[in-house]
Amino acid sequence: MVELQEMSPCAGLLPVTIGTVTLKEVAPGRMTSLSPFGDASEFGAVLKAAHGMDWPAPGRSTGKEGARCIWFGRGEALLVGPDPDGKLDKLAAVVDQSDAWAVVTLEGAGAVDVLARLVPVDLRDTAFKRGATVRTQVMHMSASITKAGTEQFRIMVFRSMAGTLVHDLKQAMAAVASRE
């Protein structure tokens, strides 16, 4: 029987540290897109019962370390961590996305300044607190950004764009570091 080896989206590209900021790839585990058919409130109850977390409001993520539900756009959330419960697909499209996204974290003093070079959204602590999430752009790429911790952001772009993500972030990291 053939054995297929796995390869992560950013294999060979990361980690990298420039100045005070580090960019590294994250293995997010199972990622599942949840898109309720119509009203999300009924589905929210099923989600809560099955996984113990609320359906996230726009711009928010719910759950805890290892099992999160991240708002992912209009009528869509991304369940990150657990395998989706079998009851979910009665009321929503449940789609495996574990391999669809390149997931990285940008961490360190100045991470917010690096993102200010690429992202047209206010990501400072005052406006974007821990748990906040946004669908926005990183340079030219459609992205999902979540505040994962103090000076730590989790950034997701299409898997195929991993190389460009690393290129753009490294360029911004170098520019920020040059100002030190």
Partner: protein, 978 residues
């Protein structure tokens, strides 16, 4: 020359730079202009049109004359203001627009021809013959008139773009801006303070006055230090706000490393900021305007405020024998400061007979004007005219003030029209010109320092109120609070040329000539004379030019109005606006999981949308792409080929109403498709034209996977959003892009099943996996999907696995294909294979083709409605004479065909009106041993077997071709089912 004990420069840090090949010494804190003046260099440039010698006129970004080129080689940067460029060790600068040198410029002959070169000269002279304009006149004029030149090489510098957000953006850090920022910051607002200068403080750094109990410059430094220590304040020196846009958005250019030698290593030269502010305060100050008189442009003549700035800020006396000429009390300061610094002031000339001069005990001439000057490359004398007659004075510097113009520019960027204020003889911004912007201080016509300080506090307080924050009391320090007294003086009467727009060489005469020729509207006058159209946008000349036009046309200033200021406030390099988009930053590059291996095999990559796909996989000994392509076509026709098709759009559609959605967006029926089966579908736009095509598989009762073409994936997704959000929001259906989740490969050819059966955990055969079947499979324990579909007409499959296994599966497939006499194939082979089968791509469905044009009219189901159905039935779209899909082959086996060529009847002349169709796709068919193609021809299906003319005017190809059925290979479709 330097004046001891004056200036904010650091005399302990000498700095060496060069200008026109000569090395000069300045100090840290100097600009090129101040350092050159300190070295006695007053000639800094040649004028645009007449190549007249010019020196520096101002001390800020409004400078019209002293434009220099910095850097060398590819790093050369033209039209840099010497008044803005700070010096650093190793800085190389040179003058521009002079040949052979600044000192001896032969083009100055233009100045002698000046009587013929006035406003409108080009329009009148170079009208005939018409074709001479582009070929001769314009290139010659451009060569002789102009600014600095670009290097023509690729720009090696790094630029940056960035976003910033704040409660309050304060534009300008003079006394007004500092107090506004302080007021808001102390109350806890999130403040960004921006100033174009390297040192914040504005005019306080250029004056000798006191604020509170210390010098203005020291006071400003103290406030800046307080602000810098606050977490809620961001100071942005060397940053110019270049534009105001909708929604509280501002553009700003930061000169990050223009003042240092730091290059490379990711360090940006400049940064272009987009600043989003809830509220803004414009505290941009005012610009001093000169007075127009004959020969008022000689090096050594500058604004009175600039003379004070060079003296007080940089410790430079711009001359040894200085005269001061003005129409207002403010000009008197210059005479006082110079005298106090020990510089000889020859005379203070005030145009007002009743002017009272305090604190200056040198020669005062009131009720007098300067009416002419002498000298050529430097000012040598001025002529003063008074009731007593004309008197010549020997001077090497003349400080001129015609009053101050509030810097209203930013308030005009959203169509605000400034209003005229008689008392200050200038324009001020109208209230509310920019939403949520407060205008304060000198740019709102408040000209005393105390007035500005308290206006700043008021503006800060108003901003806090607008932001819903509570203000805290801020004390306004004691400062100068003199009245701003002036009597208008725009131009001194007299012969000769009195310059208004120094950068574009526009004189008072030109403005008057425009009025005579009935270009009476300001906008017409501007375009006729080019006044205000230079890179400085006429910052020094606009108001005076309007005053002269108003006078010439017998109207007042308010009726005359102003021209329209537009962003950017000062020039911005395109490189800064496009920062990050050079090279790999231009667009995202989408790579498939097989990308690395494909590139390793030497495949040239082509872009499809943002994706990179292999053109072909060259092998040793092959010298042309055709050899590789023919070989790869052979793999698929004779053995087995492997192609990465992950780039095709894949949309997962789920829900009880999924079938309804598909029936509505596709022309044909999908709700009846059996689970485990795939169907080809055609999708129309609302207007009835074909939008996209592809296959959709039914994986479950409520579960489909739609495929789209690579380039149209985004469009189809958007289309589905539109349908489900706007047309049928009641449907219980959701869809998700799974393009990135699955790595998918075509395995095509007579040995396709043999290859797969060596790989799949459970073997397949023709009964359990017939043509157009689909379902789950397992490959080495990895859950995948298998679709038996064919874009080549051969026995073929597409196999999909989660992307993490994509690279490994590609390797495995290629290895096994090679063992069976096949291998990987690229886009060229894929294209030939599909043309041989008459399968369409976006070369055929390019937006103008209907379903019936591509021979699929009967795919529009009569049993149901679908998007585009009604519009597709319009008479023009069902006309039998429309060009319709046909196959094409050359009559002679060697005949050449090109995509994009037009088709004509055999005997018709090959001109546009006779075109009967065109060629959409061509390729060389190894199976037929000749080129084949697809195209469109009027009523084409009725013309089978006829010979027509193919003409490609662009590439000079003409071939006799035969119209044939578009399916060249296996028309019965036996192979795909086998």
């Amino acid at each position: 020359m330097r004046v001891a004990s004056k200036g904010l420069i650091d005399r302990s840090k000498p700095v060496h730079f060069s200008f026109d090949g000569r090395t000069y010494r300045g100090f840290a804190g100097d600009t090129v202009a101040s350092a050159l003046l300190a070295n006695g260099v007053t000639l800094m440039g040649r004028s645009f049109k007449y190549h007249r010698p010019r020196g520096v006129m101002t001390a800020g970004s409004e400078e019209p004359n002293a434009l220099i080129t910095t850097g060398t080689g590819a790093r050369r940067e033209p039209n840099v203001r010497a008044t803005v460029q700070e010096i650093y060790d190793g800085l190389v600068t040179r003058s521009q627009n002079a040949w052979p040198s600044l000192d001896v410029d032969v083009m100055a002959v233009n100045d002698l021809a000046a009587p013929f070169l006035g406003a409108g000269f080009y329009y009148k002279t170079f009208m005939w013959p018409k074709r001479f304009w582009e070929a001769i006149y314009e290139p010659v004029i451009r060569k002789t008139a102009g600014l600095g030149a670009l290097s023509g090489e690729s720009n090696p510098d790094t630029y940056e773009r960035a976003y910033a957000f704040c409660d309050l953006l304060v534009i300008g850090a003079g006394p007004t801006g500092l107090m506004a920022a302080l007021t808001a910051a102390r109350a806890g607002a999130d403040v960004i303070l921006v100033d174009e200068d390297s040192v914040m403080g504005g005019r306080l750094n250029a004056e000798s006055e006191a604020v509170g109990h210390q010098s203005g410059a020291l006071w400003a430094a103290g406030i800046v230090a307080e602000l810098a220590a606050m977490d809620n304040v961001r100071l942005m020196p060397r940053t110019t706000v270049t534009g105001a846009y909708d929604g509280g958005m501002f553009g700003a250019l930061e000169r990050v490393n223009q003042h240092t030698s730091k290059r490379g290593g990711g360090a940006p030269l400049e940064a272009f900021w987009r600043i989003s502010a809830k509220h803004s305060i414009l505290a941009a100050g005012a610009l001093e305007r000169p007075v127009a008189f004959q020969n008022n442009d000689r090096p050594g003549i500058m604004t009175a405020g600039a003379v004070r700035a060079y003296l007080n800020r940089w410790g430079v006396a711009p001359g040894r024998r200085v005269a001061v000429f003005g129409n207002n009390d403010d000009a008197h300061r210059t005479a006082r400061d110079l005298m106090a610094a020990g510089v000889h002031v020859v005379a203070l000339i005030d145009s007002r007979a009743e002017a009272e001069i305090e604190g200056f005990d040198g020669q005062v001439i009131t009720g007098a004007v300067v009416c002419n000057t002498g000298g050529r490359k430097a000012l040598e004398s001025i002529t003063v005219r008074s009731e007593a007659g004309e008197e010549a004075l020997q001077v090497d510097c003349l400080a001129v003030s015609g009053g101050w113009n509030p810097t209203v520019h930013l308030t005009c960027y959203m169509n605000g029209r400034p209003t005229w204020r008689e008392d200050i003889q200038s324009f001020v911004p109208p209230p509310g010109a920019i939403p949520n912007m407060t205008v304060a201080g000198a740019c709102n016509g408040v000209f005393s320092t105390h007035g500005c300080l308290s206006d700043g506090v008021d503006a800060g307080t108003a901003a806090l109120k607008a932001l819903g924050k509570k203000a805290v009391a801020v004390e306004v320090p004691v400062a100068e609070d003199a009245d701003y007294a002036l009597v208008p003086l725009w131009a001194v009467a007299g012969k000769g040329r009195a310059w208004l727009d120094f950068q574009n060489d526009v004189s008072v005469k030109d403005i008057k000539q425009a009025a005579v020729e009935n270009f009476r509207s300001v906008e017409h006058m501007k375009r006729y004379t080019t006044q205000g159209m230079a890179t400085d946008q006429g910052k020094n000349s606009n108001v005076a030019a309007l005053a002269i036009l108003a006078d010439a046309t017998g109207r007042g200033m308010p009726e005359t109005g102003t021209t329209t200021f537009r962003p950017p406030y000062s020039p911005v390099a395109i490189a800064a606006m496009g920062a990050g988009a050079q090279g790999h930053g231009f667009a995202p590059e989408r790579h498939t999981t097989s990308h690395k291996r494909t590139v390793e095999r030497g495949a040239p990559m082509i872009e499809a949308g943002l994706w990179y796909r292999p053109s072909y996989f060259p092998k040793a000994g092959e010298t042309t792409w055709r050899q590789s392509c023919d070989r790869e076509v052979g793999y698929v026709r004779k053995a087995v080929g492997v192609c990465d098709v992950s780039t095709l759009g894949k949309i997962d559609i789920q829900g009880p109403d999924a079938g309804k959605l598909l029936d509505f967006v596709y022309t044909n029926m999908f709700s009846t498709l059996k689970v485990g089966r795939v169907r080809y579908g055609l999708m129309l736009r609302e207007d009835g034209m074909v939008m996209d095509d592809g296959t959709t598989a039914r994986l479950g009762e409520h579960h489909f996977v739609m495929t789209t073409t690579t380039a149209a994936a985004g469009n189809v997704m958007r289309h589905l959003e539109f349908v489900t959000q706007c047309l049928h929001p009641e449907w219980a259906v959701s869809f998700t892009s799974v393009t990135e989740q699955w790595a998918q490969f075509a395995v095509a050819g007579p040995k396709a099943r043999e290859l797969l059966n060596g790989l799949l955990d459970k073997e397949i055969d023709n009964d359990n996996w017939p043509f157009m079947a689909c379902g789950d499979v397992s490959i080495g324990g990895v859950a995948g999907r298998l679709f038996r579909i064919s874009f080549s007409g051969e026995h073929a499959y597409e196999v999909a696995v989660p992307s993490r296994f994509g690279a490994a599966l590609f390797d495995e497939l290629v290895k096994r294909a090679e063992a069976l006499g096949g291998g990987p194939y690229g886009m060229e082979a894929l294209n030939v294979l599909r043309i041989e089968k008459g399968f369409i791509t976006h070369a055929e469905i390019e937006g103008r083709a209907t379903a019936s044009d591509v021979g699929m009219g009967r795919m529009i189901s009569v049993k149901k409605d679908c998007i585009g159905k009604a519009m597709a039935a319009r008479p023009g779209l069902v006309d039998a004479e429309r060009p319709q899909l046909i196959g094409l082959k050359p009559v002679s086996a060697e005949g050449e065909m090109t995509a994009g060529a037009h088709l004509f009847e055999r005997e018709a002349e090959a001109v546009r009106v006779n075109a009967k169709g065109h060629v959409s796709s061509v390729g060389y068919s190894p199976e037929l041993g000749r080129m084949i193609g697809l195209g469109f021809f009027a009523a084409g299906p009725t013309r089978m077997g006829e010979v027509v003319r193919l003409v490609d005017h662009l590439r000079g190809v003409e071939t006799e071709v035969e119209i044939c059925h578009p399916v060249f290979v296996d028309p019965e479709g036996e192979r795909a089912r086998g």
